[in-house]
């Protein structure tokens, strides 16, 4: 703003000030109370639901209410659906638990999908070749062992490369996903002579039903693993070591942690948990094997883990929410007849809003026009300062104050100071 000559209009002055400084301030949130992030996140979830409902209403004018009704009908409508919902939650949670130790170590393992498939493949192989030839109990245990060992070895490959030659684990694990899928296709063509490409329901190796309901045992197993992983990450030396490696490799070296050893050990654990997930999918849920068995959960689980900030207990909630959104939205799209992709859109909107809310957890946005008003007072003070200066030092080089401000009191701008949260 070169010193203004003539009389600028009030509007010009306002624009000038706006140019001088944007009214939006973004600052790091320093000392937010503990409840604050929780409130923000709950608000985000609510907002996500509302946005989804509005989006639905575009396709189905009567569906604004329908959205909520069907969301709940799809998830809690029948006993069967409730069990399905919790099973979906459990399997997502388990895979999220599997990737968490690696992520805490900042090993970006995005190959959970493939690792789960390899676990499933190992289990199915045992059933295919040994089903009926040994006791059911023995077969189930053997399947579990095979899954765990198979997945662990599969995960060990990128871990070794990372530890030895520092290869990029993200690309490596991603590529392994395709190999795992192709392996399953290959095995299916070998097994299914008819060429239909479908392995039917296998008769052996089913996990026992608890209370005549499917999935109940699975859910209990996942609950147990959740607690174990939580304890491992929080209270064990291994858990501590892997967080140190994740935070700073230099610090890890400085205190004498063998970084390759930690990477390999953690990845074996991660792989083993994926193996259990594969085993549950084959022996406890679908009793068959196909390339879409993991159904993208290996990727969704990454989000589940991340949204929970790698805390296993919080992951229970995030996994539930994601499962709820998926199941509910599927039901909505069926009822409103708006196509299967709708469920994906709703889930995407959900993630988008919830992830965006993290910004407001970490930063505060202040929209303020205060400085525009304040200018008046400031001008006075600087004037008086100028006077002091000139009387004290005969300083005639007093800088010309803005001509517009000392004139008519301009209360043009309604000043407001409001904090925006959402």
């Amino acid at each position: 703003m070169r010193s203004v000559t003539g009389k600028p209009s009030k509007f010009d002055a306002f624009v000038d000030k706006l140019k001088k400084e944007s009214p939006i301030h973004i600052a790091k949130r320093m000392d937010a109370p503990k409840w604050f992030p929780i409130v923000i996140r709950i608000a985000a979830v609510v907002a996500a639901f509302l946005i989804c409902a509005v989006v639905t209403a575009f396709f189905e004018p009567n569906a604004f209410g329908t959205f909520f009704v069907e969301m709940f009908r799809g998830t809690f409508g029948t006993e069967r659906r409730v069990i399905n919902l919790f099973w979906e939650t459990a399997i997502l949670l388990l895979i999220a638990l599997a990737v968490t130790p690696a992520f805490k170590m900042k090993f970006w393992n995005i190959g959970a999908e493939g690792q789960v498939l390899i676990g499933a493949l190992m289990s199915a192989t045992c059933i295919y070749y040994l089903g009926g030839k040994m006791s059911e109990g023995g077969l189930i245990v053997l399947c579990l062992l095979a899954s765990v060992v198979g997945s662990a070895i599969w995960t060990l490959i990128p871990a070794l490369f990372k530890a030895k030659w520092n290869t990029n684990e993200t690309l490596f694990t991603l590529m392994l996903n395709y190999i795992a899928t192709a392996l399953i296709s290959l095995v299916i063509t070998v097994w299914v002579k008819s060429g239909s490409g479908v392995v039917g329901i296998m008769e052996h190796g089913h996990l026992p039903l608890l209370g005549d309901q499917p999935y109940v045992l699975n859910i209990l197993i996942v609950a147990l693993i959740t607690v174990l992983v939580w304890v491992y990450l929080r209270f064990s030396k291994h858990g501590y070591e892997l967080s140190v490696v994740g935070e700073s490799i230099n610090t890890a070296k400085y205190i004498g942690i063998s970084v390759p050893k930690v990477i390999i050990r953690t990845m074996i654990l991660s792989g083993a948990l994926c193996g259990i997930a594969g085993w549950l999918l084959v022996n406890g849920a679908s009793y068959t094997i196909n390339t879409s068995l993991a159904g993208g959960r290996g990727f969704t689980a990454i989000l589940v883990s991340w949204l929970a900030h790698f805390d296993p207990l919080v992951m229970v909630i995030t996994a539930f929410l994601v499962a709820f959104m998926g199941r509910g939205a599927a039901q909505v799209s069926t009822i409103a007849n708006i196509g299967g992709s709708f469920a994906d859109i709703v889930t995407a909107v959900f993630f988008f809003v919830v992830i965006a809310s993290e910004f407001f957890v970490n930063y505060k946005v202040k929209i303020s026009f205060a400085h525009l008003k304040k200018d008046k007072g400031e001008e006075k003070s600087s004037e008086s300062l100028d006077k002091q200066a000139s009387s004290a030092e005969n300083d005639e080089a007093e800088a010309a104050p803005d001509s517009d401000s000392s004139e008519a009191p301009d209360d043009v701008v309604a000043s407001e100071d409001k904090e925006v949260t959402e």
Partner: protein
């Protein structure tokens, strides 16, 4: 604001180059600058003095267009200006030389300097208009040309030419290529601009080879490039952010000569620093900031270091380090013939030999990156060594020698060697920034016990350190990265001392710390020395090294160039040893013999230019 004696200048006739009025800047809840008024005159050197976090750099960044003030006004030559970006700053002839140089390594100095200069815009429509107009005018002249008025055999030379419409059209159509041509000439055939750079360098007395690539340059040369860059852009107000932090005493002298030349040329120079002796030497006036507030601006001639310190800290500070005579001196750690290469195969340590003795502080002096880090890490088992021996004499076992060569940190600990190490990179190596105090204490102790962690004793240790070293923290469960630099360092040093070491290595333990915290650390090191610990102290401030250490080992480019007695050492002597090397010969290189000649040259050079 308890202002001390504020001697403001009475010279009202001098031209003000830049004036700040009521500048305030707030980051979140932190007030970085509060209502700062400041004037800089033309042709003067102003030092901005203040401790870390006093808002010096923030204030200067606002002049340089990096930050925008929340409140206040900036006047240049009496006119209010708005500086929203570094570009605006350049437009107002303000240039800042940052602490971290912003140069392209693979470019030559000249290229770096002219880099980013915009080719004058080629306005196609206007150029076309111009051409068409010229042709029209010439055609008109042609038509009005009367051969009779211009007799003589050479008249054809001045005869206007006729441009047929076809020619004009063709030339107009080709006009875009003229634009491209000019652009190519500007960007790739930049000889003219390079000559201009050379002229500026000569004018201010910079000695530099402009064709040299940046990666071949020493820190001081890089700094020179940065300064020329700013001058080339036509800056009249130069801001230097801690320019001497990385230079040897000799290089500092050269820099000061150049700064004086710039002052003589009427430029205004602002130097941000916290080194008092330099303030006294170079500046005309000193502005002192404390906690974001402008305490006073005083004329250097009417003040002294003690007064400046008091203004800076806000209370009386004793600037003396209590150095006791070492007692019970025994060899504790002996390094002989140590060599190491880095991942590029370049020798970073070359035949290093020395001994650290119990009950004394051994200082290590050298230009940053001369192998100090590698040396300490090699001793701690973190850096692979190629050759040589490291022997530790265990006081617990009657000074039995222990070979530390090529051992991992865990092996060293298992051998019962009580070696503590305060690394240079506090949050990246010594501590984990995102973990709390307790978990950081645990870094040293977590291995005890079976499978599960013991958080009780680390918590006790954290509490003890917080109490004894007066660490300012909300609780022991605060992430250490949220603490200030001084408190982070107290936590790290406290943890390392808690292991009751017999050898304590500290790399730049006071870097970035304010005066009070620095003296706390010096006292801690002295206490350890009293206890009979062999302390190895890598420092950058030669004055402190001379005051604190019993012996000073000087290294240069990975070689030991001398060991001097801390009680008899002279700064210049250490400075020369720091640059004494057979490699990288440049004009900085001088042997001990021509010390006096060199200084004479400097004085002469300063006068002549």
């Amino acid at each position: 604001m308890e202002t001390t004696v504020a001697i403001t200048t009475s010279d009202a006739q001098r031209d003000v180059a830049i004036q700040l009025k009521g500048i305030t800047k707030v980051f979140g809840d932190v007030v970085a600058n509060s209502n700062v008024d400041l004037e800089v005159y033309k042709g003067e050197i102003l030092s901005i003095l203040g401790e870390n976090g006093s808002g010096k750099t923030t204030l200067m960044n606002m002049i340089a267009g990096i930050y925008f003030p929340d409140e206040g006004h900036i006047y240049i030559d009496g006119e209010e200006v708005v500086i929203r970006s570094p570009k605006d700053a350049f437009a107002h002839k303000i240039g800042m030389i940052h602490q971290h140089f912003k140069l392209v390594d693979t470019f030559s100095a000249a290229d770096n300097i002219i880099l980013g200069e915009k080719c004058p815009k080629f306005d196609l429509a206007a150029e076309r208009e111009k051409l068409a107009e010229a042709h029209r005018a010439e055609n008109e002249a042609y038509e009005n040309y009367d051969e009779a008025e211009h007799p003589g055999p050479l008249a054809y030379m001045t005869k206007p030419k006729f441009h047929p419409e076809k020619e004009t059209k063709r030339k107009l159509a080709l006009m875009p290529f003229v634009g491209i041509g000019r652009r190519i000439k500007f960007n790739w055939l930049a000889k003219k601009r390079a000559d201009e750079v050379q002229r500026i360098a000569n004018r201010f007395g910079f000695k530099i080879d402009l064709k040299k690539k940046i990666y071949d340059m020493s820190v001081s040369e890089k700094q020179t490039v940065e300064i020329i860059k700013v001058l080339y852009r036509g800056a009249d107000i130069l801001i230097l952010d801690e320019p001497t932090a990385v230079l040897t005493p000799q290089e500092i002298e050269k820099l000061f000569d150049v700064i004086r030349n710039m002052k003589a040329a009427g430029k205004s120079i602002i130097i941000i620093t916290h080194k008092l002796n330099e303030v006294m030497e170079i500046s005309d006036r000193v502005a002192v900031l404390r906690k974001g507030e402008h305490i006073a601006t005083v004329e250097t001639a009417f003040t002294d270091e003690q007064q400046l310190t008091e203004m800076m800290v806000g209370k009386k500070v004793s600037l003396n380090i209590d150095r006791t005579e070492p007692h019970d001196v025994k060899n504790r750690l002996v390094v002989s013939g140590l060599s190491a290469v880095n991942s590029d195969g370049i020798k970073v340590l070359d035949d290093v030999s020395f001994e650290a003795k119990s009950g004394e502080i051994l200082g290590i002096a050298g230009i940053a990156g001369s192998g100090q880090r590698e040396l300490l890490e090699a001793i701690a088992g973190l850096y692979k060594i190629k050759d040589g021996a490291i022997t530790y004499y265990d006081p617990a076992k009657d000074d039995a020698p222990v070979d530390l060569r090529s051992k991992t940190p865990v092996q060293i600990r298992d051998l019962g060697v009580r070696l503590s190490f305060v690394p240079e990179d506090r949050l990246g190596m010594g501590l984990v920034g995102n973990m709390d105090l307790v978990d950081n204490m645990m870094l040293r102790s977590y291995r005890k016990g079976f499978m599960f962690l013991d958080r009780k004793s680390p918590k006790k240790l954290a509490e003890t350190i917080v109490n004894e070293l007066e660490v300012v923290t909300p609780s022991t469960h605060t992430a250490v990265r949220k603490l200030s630099g001084g408190n982070v360092q107290k936590v790290l040093v406290g943890r390392e001392i808690a292991a009751s070491p017999s050898v304590l290595m500290a790399a730049y333990p006071v870097r970035g710390l304010d005066i009070n915290s620095s003296y706390t650390i010096y006292n801690l090191l002295n206490e350890q020395k009293e206890k009979g610990v062999a302390v190895i102290f890598v420092g950058e401030d030669l004055d402190v090294l001379i005051e604190l250490c019993d012996r000073i080992l000087v290294i240069c480019a990975g070689r030991v160039t001398g060991v001097v007695d801390g009680r008899r050492a002279i700064k210049e002597q250490i400075g020369l040893l720091m640059t004494k090397t057979t490699r990288d010969v440049d004009e900085n290189q001088v042997s001990l013999d021509d010390l006096e000649v060199h200084q004479e040259n400097d004085v002469k050079g300063g006068d002549a230019q």
